[in-house]
């Protein structure tokens, strides 16, 4: 069993990684740096999942977010040419209302965290979760599971429709379709 100070240190490392990465994503000038900082956040959150003994989720988080979502975002970044962003602020909303919203929501959240669920509790030791998740998905939560698969199918079709609208039908000579200018 790992003693408490080491556990706390590991927790703060992961938490710091997630938070610092998040700040970098939101406030970095260079958009590509933002996207790569997202990697730090995802890795930090995956570490926290592992820390909460959600081993299956930690690995799936790495697989879906880093291997899928982040790579997609990077592709989109590299395909849109104007990557350097001069201004950080958004003129239509601005920093002042943003700060007001920030203070209000943060007060609410901190109140909820500390007041409602205050004090530290000793978390029970974790067990492997994979089998339990599988059972839950195919028994009690089978309807959401099916709905999610329908959603993913819809997304597949939608993405093909949006992206495939640009493709011409193949020419009689059997040459592949070209992009329209």
């Amino acid at each position: 069993m790992i003693p408490e100070p080491v556990r706390a240190l590991l927790f703060y490392l992961c938490a710091g990684l997630a938070l610092a990465g998040g700040c970098w994503v939101a406030f970095a000038r260079n958009i590509v740096h933002s996207a790569f900082a997202l990697l730090a956040t995802f890795a930090g959150v995956a570490g926290l999942y592992a820390f909460l003994s959600a081993d299956f989720l930690a690995v799936v988080q790495l697989m879906i977010y880093v291997g899928g979502v982040l790579v997609l975002i990077l592709f989109a970044l590299m395909l849109t040419s104007r990557i350097e962003e001069a201004r950080v602020s958004n003129p239509t909303i601005g920093l002042v209302p943003g700060a007001v919203v920030l203070i209000a929501v943060s007060a609410l959240l901190v109140y909820a965290c500390v007041k409602e669920f205050g004090g530290t509790t000793d978390l029970p030791p974790g067990e492997p979760t994979t089998a339990g998740i599988g059972d839950a998905l195919l028994s009690r939560y089978v309807l959401p599971f099916e709905v999610i698969s329908v959603l993913l199918l819809a997304v597949l079709l939608g993405a093909v429709t949006i992206a495939g609208g640009r493709l011409r039908k193949p020419a009689p000579g059997g040459k592949p379709g070209k992009e329209r200018p």
Binding site: A54, A76, T80, E85, N90, F117
Partner: protein, 101 residues
């Protein structure tokens, strides 16, 4: 100091706030999309923390659903963004203020 539920909740709140502020302040739609991902991650973290606290697997199931939703959102969002970029040569939220060209 012992790490407990409150720590996870506070961290999730912080990540959520960073994502929210980024979403409001930035004007590049790609960054806004990334900030939405940050907020989703924060929500997932809360689910997992409570799942551990209560010893209930339901939180893990919800997080898996969230993963699917996040992946779907990014796939469709980026497809739309690419299409917009192809027509307007810009992905700034401020430039996207007309319904028709």
């Amino acid at each position: 100091m012992e790490v407990g539920l409150t720590h996870y909740l506070l961290l999730a709140a912080a990540v959520f706030l960073v994502g929210m502020v980024g979403f409001i302040v930035r004007r590049n739609t790609l960054i806004m999309l990334m900030c939405v991902e940050l907020m989703l991650s924060a929500a997932n973290l809360v689910f997992v923390a409570f799942s551990r606290e209560l010893g209930d697997e339901a939180g893990h199931v919800f997080v898996l659903m969230n993963f699917a939703v996040a992946a779907a959102e990014v796939a469709i969002g980026l497809a739309i963004l690419m299409e917009i970029f192809r027509r307007r040569r810009s992905v700034d939220a401020d430039d996207l203020n007309t319904l028709m060209e």
